[in-house]
Symmetry: C2
Subunit: 488 residues, 2 copies
């Protein structure tokens, strides 16, 4: 095969980079840490976007759009927020270039210096809450349930395609509420939406929980998270939903008058998922032959390949099948290229993760059969033309479920309970995955564990029951087990 990729067991990190490159998901760009999202990678993101957007709208949210730029002074208004973001900002200082007086090219025109520098948004709480002040006067103006699809920039030191890039695409919800309870309910609702999306569409099992104070979003009172597990045993934070209390309302002086004309600060949430999910999808399902995409998010769900090459008769059968599948709402492509050999094409579609491949050859056709190959297990079977559309419909569901179950089994097999620090270290070092253990609830212990093992506190699971025990590191009393893991 022309396009071999590194095996996962040899070098997982290189395997990931190979898939991104050779399946045509993304490319590096000329700008440090910024990627080019190629049509296949963007097609997956588009399908994610469409589904999430539908789910947000079904739960009463509307889209809007706020400026890319944030005045520098806005960032400082919420103390923790500025601490979290000031160190990785793209800063705009000028607004004009001019011909280089000393030679070729253009230089910054020094007379175009801005009075106040602008920051390219790393997240939009500040500019949005500055706007909400004008939009909210009375309880009648609440709740505000607004989402934005946008690009954001964080000047990260180490970047990897999709997982951590200087610029990335995301959605950020920013809601405003009259009461604390309503805001918490909203943050929890979105937490559920994210978990449902991850499991039912990405076929990626997640653990729902909330973050320790140390791992919270900068400016939040509570951060809900969904945590997934990649095939190398490292966790991936896949989506977060924040209860922001009245922090941003106080920073930007956003008050409402209640039905008794009493003024109160507004309660807030924010929540986001990003193109990082594409990285999570790749690492959850793909194998040593290339990308594997869950059918519900695959830009092309079925590809039809004539064997050995397109003849009129075979193309007619291909077009008939394609038409039937399209009628069922299946995204299908007929390969009409007559320059490449079938073997080459098969490898290419495997690399690109197309869930189902239908091969049409003269010999099979004589028996009214076509060959159907599924990408997840690589199994092939001969299927009668009479029932091909129903078969494919069922198969796509089957693949979607199989991918989820396979990933869930791996994940469940990699949650290891420990009650002493030696076991903790051993599991993190050798087996990987989540370590479940008692923790004394202090930042000191959390940071010490990180220092010693590189594992971070991923979350305090929602469904974890209270239980008396001793912290795996300090031995101090604890009443709940939490999850640690190395993470992306």
């Amino acid at each position: 095969m022309a396009k071999e990729i590194t095996k996962r067991e040899d070098n997982y990190s290189q395997w990931y980079n190979d898939i991104v490159k050779k399946a045509g998901l993304a490319d590096n760009s000329a700008v440090r840490g910024c990627m080019v999202i190629k049509p296949l990678g963007f097609g997956i993101w588009e399908n994610m976007k469409a589904q999430l957007d539908k789910m947000f709208k079904e739960t009463g949210h509307v889209n809007a759009y706020f400026p890319l730029f944030i005045p520098k002074s806005f960032l400082s208004k919420e103390a923790k927020h500025v601490e979290g973001f000031a160190k990785e900002c793209a800063v705009i200082t000028h607004h004009r270039l001019m011909n280089n007086p000393d030679g070729e090219g253009v230089v910054v025109d020094p007379t175009s210096k801005l009075d106040e520098e602008l920051i390219v948004r790393p997240t939009s709480e500040t500019i949005i809450w500055n706007t909400y002040r004008d939009w909210i006067q009375s309880y009648r103006d609440l709740p505000l349930l607004i989402n934005q699809w946008a690009n954001v920039v964080r000047w990260e030191m180490r970047t990897r395609p999709f997982l951590r890039t200087t610029e990335f695409l995301w959605q950020e919800g920013h809601t405003a509420h009259a009461t604390k309870e309503e805001a918490i309910t909203e943050a929890e609702l979105i937490h559920e939406v994210y978990a449902k999306f991850a499991e039912e569409y990405m076929a990626m099992p997640v653990i729902k929980g909330y973050k320790s104070e140390n791992e919270r979003f900068a400016g939040a009172d509570n951060t809900f998270t969904i945590e997934a597990l990649m095939q190398d045993g490292k966790a991936l934070q896949a989506g977060t939903s924040h209860f922001l209390g009245q922090n941003f309302a106080k920073a930007f002086d956003v008050k409402y008058s209640d039905s008794n004309n009493k003024e109160e600060y507004v309660w807030a949430t924010s929540w986001g998922v990003s193109t990082r999910l594409v990285g999570g999808l790749i690492m959850t399902h793909s194998d040593d032959a290339g990308l594997v995409i869950p059918p519900r998010l695959a830009p092309t769900q079925v590809v039809i390949v004539p064997i050995p090459k397109p003849s009129e008769e075979i193309m007619k059968v291909a077009d008939d099948i394609a038409a039937k599948l399209k009628d069922r709402g299946i995204r299908v492509k007929v390969d009409t290229d007559d320059k490449k050999r079938p073997g080459f094409k098969f490898a290419q579609y495997e690399m690109e993760g197309v869930p189902v491949r239908i091969g049409i050859g003269m010999r099979d056709l004589a028996n009214n059969l076509v060959e159907v190959a599924r990408r997840d297990t690589k199994e092939k079977e001969s299927i009668s033309l009479d029932s091909i559309d129903q078969h494919i419909d069922d198969l796509l569901i089957n693949i979607q479920n199989n991918l989820f179950e396979r990933a869930k089994k791996y994940r469940d097999d990699h949650i290891t309970e420990v009650d002493n620090f030696d076991d903790f270290k051993k599991v993190i070092e050798e087996k990987g995955g989540f370590v479940k253990c008692h923790w004394d609830g202090t930042v000191e212990t959390e940071l010490k564990i990180k220092e010693l093992t590189k594992a971070t506190l991923r979350c305090i699971p929602n469904d974890e029951k209270e239980s008396e025990g001793k912290c795996v590191y300090s031995g101090n009393p604890s009443n709940k087990k939490v999850l640690f893991a190395k993470a992306y």
Copy 2:
């Protein structure tokens, strides 16, 4: 009425600003020249986007995403391009803030200065063609038919919501071809797509033509344009499609080898429409009562309002109608607010441009009737409940057509042929609209006319036949009439 707006004849410009503000389309932001697109404005843009995206995909294009930032040196590589964009760039010079050593807040960390400044993309030809160099080797890699939905920034001196903003949203197509003919055909295809979208979806008649050399995109060999006419007699450039020749391929050294292994530079097009279209939509159809939205792009096509206020019986009828309309794919909203009076609601929905309003009152209901009001003509009629869904379906089509015909009549009435410069000035000054006349084909004349009248050469119409005549300004020979107008 609580929300009066300026009348068009009193002050068209203020009328426009009032509509934007009071219909809740957009707000000014804390960042100079950047607007906040509010849910109604964004909802219109979302519908535009969905339809255009569909049309691009139907013509074989795929979406991708390229970096927000462009290295400064890239801009200089195409001589005309840098001339067109260097003077209005947001320039990033640093990547970190730090606590102010002299007091409060944060300041730019001087140690974070970038080696090379980055420009926030004003358009993406340069970064994209720098990428295409890696993607294109052989004729087999062509054509590349890629579109991007993105935000761009141009540091404009005077800004107006939607029509001209520092940051705006748009799509930009960037295609690469093996031959000149193929590239020209692509630019013309998109020109057709834009015209079809403007007329069939926005109900906004446009003139298809191409630009004079002086008005071309910076770096193009030819610029196709669609030109619309606003109600104040000023033209609006609504979409452009550029044949870029080999200019960017040469600037970024993008060659392909043809089937004989001969190397040649690649041919290019680029094309875009932006949130400016929302401004065009507002100004084409709206009236002194507020916004008017063509049904095909209206976020809410039908609103159902109980009169005098929601009772159980009325709500049941409302929900029944809504369900029937939804079944037909109509976007319908039932107003369940029992705090506001119907009169207030009616004015509000008029302001927001909802194409059809259904009022349900007890008296009408006793006769099996509801009141249907159309936004475009403000006519009302009583319609039987038995045929309400079919009636609404027909009415929406009727409104869409009526808006187009009304706008087309206005536009056609405002194309005035002149053959001397006194008439030219008189028409531009008094009547407005397009002036059709002979022009000698020189930049000098074009600029002189602009200087004297503020009218610019909008386009050389596609369907204009050759005819012998004398330039309206210079008296020099001309073989084709062109269109001048004052423009946004």
